[in-house]
């Protein structure tokens, strides 16, 4: 009885045109690990499903220059994991991505899907924000780049307009002595949804922080970039005093809800704890400890 049409687009133009014509009744399909679940449970009833995995640009990993990566929106976790250089440069992004679901889910799930689904609890998003990543978007009016921290507008809402599709994620060129880390709190060890997620990305020179970005997930209607954190961290030695200050900042930035997955009070505390732990992890990684 289902009236849903399926289109496997071969080019960006074909996908974008079909989406635009459907006038808000189409959905792009990457791994489908969110979309198919939503269709099955009746949350979404698209008239047209546009499969984008056959579009070359969306399914490839490019190293544009040495240490500068662009990852296609529909590349699966299993595939990105095979790129050893990416794994070395962005361990935090990869660990966030690899936390999604199980081995089976990893064969399908994409960074693009995680981002475009619009959940404030999507695991890869804080890591992408901390990485300083940009979303490359194609649409009827051409291509544009949007920083990930500006991509979400609210739960389930993104900047994407009718006809617009995420093509890839562009990572900044990786500097030496840098590392990132992502930690999430879930009651179970796996197959769970983040109660709080925290991504930290830092660069050190002679133990002094030269670059820092901190992001939190699941503590507000959208994932957050803690802008002021960078200001205090850069130039410091990331000593306890600084970490306590930023931890407090993270807690102050939280604007979570009380729900079955966690209380306001709990989520706020956890944000502060995870920031410290993720920073320690990233620092250790630069030191070559992990």
């Amino acid at each position: 009885m289902s009236d849903t049409q399926y289109l496997a687009a071969k080019t960006i133009d074909e996908a974008v045109n079909a989406h635009e014509k459907a006038n808000g009744t189409a959905r792009f399909l990457a791994g489908g690990t969110d979309l198919l679940v939503q269709i099955k449970s009746g949350i979404r009833k698209p008239n047209l499903v546009i499969d984008i995995k056959k579009i070359v640009e969306l399914n490839s990993i490019n190293e544009i220059s040495d240490g500068e990566f662009e990852v296609g929106a529909s590349v699966s976790g299993a595939n990105l994991n095979r790129n050893l250089k990416f794994a070395k440069l962005w361990p935090g992004v990869l660990e966030a991505f690899r936390l999604i679901g199980s081995e089976q889910i990893q064969g399908r799930a994409s960074l693009g899907g995680n981002l475009c689904n619009g959940s404030p609890a999507g695991d890869s998003v804080p890591a992408l924000i901390a990485a300083g990543c940009k979303a490359v978007i194609a649409g009827p009016k051409g291509k544009k780049d949007v920083p990930i921290e500006n991509f979400h507008l609210g739960p389930g809402k993104t900047v994407l307009e009718n006809g617009e599709m995420l093509v890839s994620l562009k990572f900044p060129k990786r500097e030496a002595n840098s590392a990132d880390a992502y930690l999430r709190m879930t009651p179970r060890t796996e197959m769970d949804i983040a109660v709080v997620g925290c991504g930290v990305n830092i660069s050190l020179e002679n133990n002094v922080c030269t670059h820092a970005r901190v992001s939190l997930g699941a503590v507000a209607p959208t994932p957050l970039l803690i802008k002021e954190a960078s200001d205090i961290m850069v130039g410091s030695k990331l000593d306890d005093d600084i970490l306590n200050k930023v931890s407090k900042m993270c807690m102050d930035a939280c604007n979570p809800i009380n729900d079955k997955r966690g209380t306001i009070d709990y989520r706020t505390k956890v944000a502060g704890v995870l920031f410290k732990r993720a920073t320690k992890l990233a620092t250790d990684r630069i030191g070559g400890n992990k």
Binding site: M185, P187, R188, D265, Y266, K269
Partner: protein
């Protein structure tokens, strides 16, 4: 019977259903289809409590593809004030649970069902059914259901002279409780709370029913008892039992939750109306919303002991959620909680509380984990106060052979004390603990059960054996029955095939529950084997021309009993089978009886946890279950029962709970937010099987399936206390709750 050589009993033989299950070939109930089959779907209440003013099915009936629509009018009615007892159920509640009459009593309560050519049409038709409700105030939590002005679910239920949601009570008394407390040097009194938890079977409920033109119904379904399915369907449809054939499918987990029907009567009525086979499959959401779970509870425990650690008085008061209809497992809480101990003065009291939740169903040792949680936690506090090892406290007070239990019986030979001693001596109990780690112990008891069982044991023409029994195999009973049969007949295990009969092919057998199946099956299989051996001896006697008494059966052969009997070469089972036609016909025998003598089971568990002091996360690091299993007929499957119980206990203690929102709707109907543990949440699980044979059973069997879920709640809670120095008095010990306790507010 022959001396038991134990060639097969106690061996980890390959389970007969194993190959089919690991290759995906096993037939579960939703795998069954039939030509001409159509689909059923159930309309469920969007309200937790409402009067049904009218149901208009016209639009649904007019939808193309719809073949029939039914409501409570089509289900046999049982007047609400007259009990009609069937096992632990009452048909007046069952009839209203499968299809609401007059009132809907919980979110998800069925009130109509549709059969249509596709599942989608059936679902669409349900949306077209127009129902007028008068929404009533509701009560979900126990405290809301028992307060003076609580909304009343069933007007005819009276307590202390008034309409009430307290539907029943149960009490056990021993000695003089006040005198007991007056002799105590320490007294601890605490209140506890637990949440409703689901059995979490992976296979949801489903069935296929075909009612033929002559009115005979065939039911394929997943349940813990095909005879239960037949009886309940018969009651609710009016079809005589002889015209219903219930065929048990393989079962994807039940844990007690499949001891009642939800869909079978509806599919039967829909099939009757349409003349087509009707299939209904419940989805996960409805399974969570409207089947299972076991009760949430609140309880108060008070225990007094002397300085030397002798318990002189114990008192427990339990309130258990029954869901929308009476029948919570208060017996398990009231009867089991003090059963491991020799206590001179005791008083336990239970209240059965109805509220606007779905009707509870059995869950491994129903009620007993709730009872043990409070008692075993308070014992932990008493031990600490007396500066005594908590296992030593249990040892001093252990019930033994001859002890009169608080719930009545006097114990025969039993192995509780042995479990405690084994725990004290286990390396786990002495292993060092790390930072923020704690160790807890707790004990538990379950009654176990006997009941009706039937078996048929036939010798095939080529000298092999087919055994048929009547209880669905959930935990490996076929493998164990094969072991026993091979042992008794003195033949190789490979020669024995064990099947589960349907209601038309084997005699009445009570459902798979109460840890009764192997206990009862082994008894009727033993009796059947005796009869078959007698026949085999008679055949040999005939061939040799000597007296039957002069023949013995040994190692799978008939032999002359001694030199006086004459010199004959032994006759094997295969040789006797080959000559069966000439010596009197087919060889085989059946036996059926109401089995008695199921003796209780005891366990003691040791658990280590580690707590993340900043996040409140509790992880179980090491777990050892020690249990008196009577006799482990198939040790792997006995261990499997212990593993399963302890995993379900870990879920219950740490992460599982029914969460209702402000509209009275269950808010976590999927496994993402209903958090059963996953593999990575668990440590390796250690087991110690103690074998103190049940003196009332031919192989010494005690039920082993339920005790393993009794101690974990308290063992884990006691371990968390040791780790953080503060105690939680409610479950689950979720991270936010634990962090709050750590921070002391």
């Amino acid at each position: 019977m022959n001396e038991i050589s134990n060639k097969w009993i106690g061996k980890n033989t390959i389970r007969p259903d194993g190959a089919d299950k690991v290759t995906g070939r096993a037939q579960y109930s939703s795998d069954t289809t039939m030509p001409g089959m159509i689909w059923g779907h159930v309309l469920r209440s969007p309200h937790p409590h409402a009067k049904i003013l009218s149901i208009n099915t016209k639009k649904a009936e007019e939808l193309e593809g719809v073949k029939a629509v039914i409501t409570s009018k089509d289900v046999v009615d049982f007047p609400i004030d007259t009990p009609v007892i069937l096992g632990i159920q009452d048909m007046r509640w069952m009839c209203r649970n499968v299809m609401a009459r007059d009132k809907v009593l919980f979110h998800g309560h069925p009130l109509a069902a549709v059969a249509a050519t596709t599942e989608e049409i059936a679902e669409k038709a349900c949306e077209l059914i127009e129902v007028e409700y008068d929404v009533l105030p509701w009560a979900i939590e126990i405290d809301d259901a028992i307060k003076p002005d609580a909304p009343i679910l069933h007007d005819h239920i009276q307590f202390e002279g008034k309409s009430s949601n307290i539907a029943g009570t149960l009490e056990h008394k021993k000695g003089d409780i006040d005198k007991g407390f007056s002799e105590a040097d320490v007294i601890i009194e605490r209140e506890f709370k637990t949440e409703a938890v689901h059995q979490g079977y992976l296979e949801t409920h489903s069935c296929l029913v075909s009612v033929a033109a002559d009115g005979r119904a065939t039911i394929w379904s997943s349940s813990q008892g095909q005879f239960m399915v037949r009886a309940m369907t018969s009651y609710l449809t009016g079809i005589p039992q002889s015209n219903i054939r219930a065929i048990p499918a393989e079962i994807g987990g039940g844990f007690g939750g499949k001891t009642i029907v939800y869909l079978e009567p509806l599919a039967t009525i829909l099939s009757q109306k349409t003349g087509r086979p009707v299939k209904i499959v419940m989805n996960r959401e409805d399974t969570m919303r409207a089947s299972g779970p076991t009760s949430g509870s609140k309880s108060k425990i008070k225990i007094g002991a002397t300085k030397d650690g002798k318990i002189v008085a114990a008192q427990g008061t339990y309130y258990l959620q029954a869901g929308a209809f009476p029948g919570s497992p208060i017996r398990g809480a009231v009867g089991c909680s003090l059963a491991p101990y020799d206590i001179p003065n005791a008083h336990t009291f239970g209240y059965d509380v109805v509220s606007n939740r779905c009707k509870v169903a059995a869950y491994r040792a129903p009620g007993a984990p709730i009872g043990a949680y409070g008692v075993e936690s308070v014992l932990d506090e008493i031990a600490e106060k007396l500066n005594m090892c908590p296992l030593e406290l249990r040892k001093i007070n252990a019930a033994k052979e001859g002890t009169q239990a608080v719930h009545g019986p006097t114990y025969p030979q039993m192995g509780y004390l042995e479990t405690v001693e084994a725990a004290i001596n286990h390396p786990h109990y002495k292993a060092p603990l790390g930072k923020h780690q704690g160790r807890g112990v707790a004990s538990g008891f379950w009654f176990n059960a006997g009941g009706e069982s039937s078996a048929q044991l036939n010798i095939t023409e080529d000298g092999n054996v087919v055994v048929t029994t009547g209880h669905p195999d959930i935990g490996g009973s076929r493998a164990s029955i094969a072991n026993i049969t091979a042992e008794l007949l003195g033949i190789h295990h490979d020669k024995v095939s064990v099947l589960i009969g349907d209601t038309a092919t084997i005699g009445y057998s009570n459902l798979t529950g109460g840890s009764r199946v192997l206990f009862a099956s082994a008894m009727v299989v033993t009796e059947s084997a005796k009869l078959v051996i007698k026949q085999l001896k008679q055949r040999a006697a005939k061939i040799w021309g000597i007296d039957e008494e002069a023949i013995e059966w040994e190692n799978g052969e008939a032999r002359p009993a001694g030199d006086n009997a004459g010199k004959f070469a032994p006759l094997t089972l295969a040789e006797l089978a080959e000559k069966a036609t000439a010596t009197g016909g087919p060889i085989g025998a059946g036996y059926q009886v109401n089995t008695e003598g199921a003796e209780g089971g005891f366990a003691t568990h040791i658990c280590d946890v580690e707590v993340d002091m900043d996040l409140g996360i509790v992880r179980v690091k090491r777990y050892t279950s020690i249990q008196d299993v009577g006799k482990a007929i198939h040790p792997d499957y006995v261990e499997g029962q212990l593993h399963g119980g302890c995993v379900q206990g870990i879920g219950w203690a740490l992460s599982e709970e029914y969460i209702y929102n402000k509209d009275g709707h269950l808010d976590n109907t999927g496994f993402l937010d209903y958090r059963m543990p996953v593999c990575s949440d668990l440590p390796m699980l250690d087991t110690v099987l103690i074998e103190i044979p049940n003196p009332k059973h031919p192989q010494g069997v005690r039920g082993v399936g339920e005790v393993p879920l009794v101690p974990p709640l308290a063992a884990i809670s006691n371990a968390v206390y040791q780790a953080i120095g503060k105690r939680s008095y409610s479950l689950p010990m979720s991270p936010p709750k634990v962090l709050k306790i750590i921070e002391g507010n």
